[in-house]
């Protein structure tokens, strides 16, 4: 049985933590997105041909959204659980009558909510630079929620695995950001010469960017259902790992 009051307490507290740094949390993605649009959208994009029938400025929106979403969600979630471990306040969570469900829904739900707020901000910022229409808006929101939930869980695992700040930052910095850049954020993988267009398919981020791009423009590098399938599969793997962590108490209990 899930303790909804406990879940709500964790969820609202995490959101409060986000709101405490709202200025930085909101302003940073707005400025970053604006810079990408100025450089890639306006300066370079004006020289680029349409891709898959989509204006280049509009083409990069799903990729930019994914770039910010993956980074922010992973960081929010990993810090959300790492900081209580680091400061010792985790005692309160461990001594409370809350289990894996309450903890996950609370922490991951809050991280996913923050991501949705950020996604909305990025889309509004993008609107200032580019005119775009979302072909499948409901599926786009669903896909964003799915990705946000998956990477919140991934961040959660990262925050439990890390035993210092360096480890906490190394995965997003060395893997997530490069893979996102190489995952078709600024280009279609069809543009890559052989065999790199095939090699690129080994990058899981390709499926996320491609899936989101499909919900925006109905065009994608890979089949939309493959993208959905891979994202759901990643979610299931993360849920399984987190459940195991709670069951064994790995890095949580002495």
């Amino acid at each position: 049985m899930i303790g909804w009051r406990s879940t709500w307490a964790i969820y609202t507290r995490e959101l409060m933590r986000f709101l405490r740094t709202a200025f930085q949390s909101v302003l940073a993605p707005v400025i970053t997105t604006a810079l990408y649009f100025i450089v890639f959208g306006a300066a370079i994009g004006s020289e680029m041909p349409d891709l898959d029938g989509v204006d280049y400025g509009a083409f990069i929106i799903p990729g930019l959204l994914m770039l910010t979403l993956l980074g922010e969600t992973t960081n929010n979630s990993s810090f959300g659980i790492y900081m209580p471990r680091f400061t010792g306040t985790i005692y309160e969570l461990l001594s409370a009558p809350v289990g894996v469900a309450e903890t996950l829904i609370g922490f991951v739900g809050a991280a996913a909510t923050k991501s949705l707020i950020l996604a909305a901000i990025i889309l509004l910022t993008a609107r200032l630079f580019v005119d775009y229409t979302i072909v499948h808006p409901v599926l786009a929101v669903l896909f964003i929620i799915l990705v946000a939930a998956s990477f919140s869980l991934f961040g959660f695992i990262l925050g439990i695995w890390a035993d210092n700040f360096e480890k906490l930052g190394i995965i997003p910095l060395l893997f997530l950001t490069p893979l996102t850049f190489l995952g078709g954020t600024f280009y279609s993988i069809d543009m890559l010469p052989k065999p790199w267009d095939t090699v690129a398919l080994a990058n899981p981020i390709v499926y996320l960017v491609s899936g989101l791009r499909w919900t925006f423009y109905g065009q994608s590098d890979v089949n939309i259902w493959v993208s959905f399938g891979i994202t759901v599969g990643f979610l299931v793997v993360c849920v399984t790992i987190v459940t195991l962590i709670f069951k064994t108490g790995w890095r949580l209990r002495a």
């Binding site: 303790g3 009051r5 406990s6 709500w8 307490a9 964790i10 609202t12 507290r13 409060m16 933590r17 405490r20 400061t87 010792g88 306040t89 005692y91 309160e92 969570l93 461990l94 001594s95 409370a96 009558p97 809350v98 289990g99 108490g249 209990r253 002495a254």
Partner: protein, 312 residues
Amino acid sequence: MEPILELDGLSKVYSGGLKALDDVNLTIRKGEIFALLGPNGAGKTTLIGAVCGMVTPTSGTIRAFGHDMAKDWRKARARIGLVPQELSTDMFEPVMRAVSYSRGLFGLAPDKDRIEEVLRSLSLWDKRDERIMALSGGMKRRVLIAKALAHEPDLLFLDEPTAGVDVELRKGMWRIIDEMRSRGVTIILTTHYIEEAEEMADRVGIIRGGKIVMVDEKDAMMARLGRTEAHIALAAPLSQIPPSIARYPVELEQNGSSLCYRGGDGAGKGKQDVAALTKALLAEGIDYTGIDIRESSLEDIFVSLLGEEEAG
């Protein structure tokens, strides 16, 4: 009296091989203040951690309120509060929100009246909107107590509640603990200040090297292990003790100018002995000029017990 917490064969061996708890058997009774005493590294915090869910026991069982903590941990934990040794809380949060969060985390509906009552009882009401980081060390500790009391626990663990606080605040903390007991909360406290246990506890447990060395009523422990020590300054030095005096546990000291009595039972027998001894001295024609008498404290007993353990 009804047991509220039962530890049976509880052991904990950390991954590095350290045996922090070694076959601990302990029963805590409803409504009592139980002081767990022990030197640093004795296993006090590990024991608390095992009950409160921060430490996974290697073996043994824990039953709280009749629930097996391995199975019905939700029901048991909902009734247990913990004030940790370290000042661990989100320092950026205002007091009121931090305490309300703790109540919600334990699955209870928001109750402003209850939170106000808790904050007022800890003299924190005026600070309710202050960030915790802006409070003094003593107030921060009281915030941790408020957080632990927010969900109205029946069993409260206080891990070194007065560590690092001044004498005045420590006494204020004792008053708070006493009030909690009067509301029916069972309290288990660990402390380095034996005086604290002597002042507050109904029962005392002594732990060393992960083993419970002794558990007893504080008064019974002091009666059983306590001693009276009296130094009687003699008007003229004695070369030997007369037979009528020698039946008391006495010895000459300071070249016969003082007679030392060590005996009694910590429950008044020593004082009676000393009174009878002074009469016996006068009956032998031995005059004295002063008496210095003291009862052994819980600390003396604690130190002597640990000394015996070490020697053993």
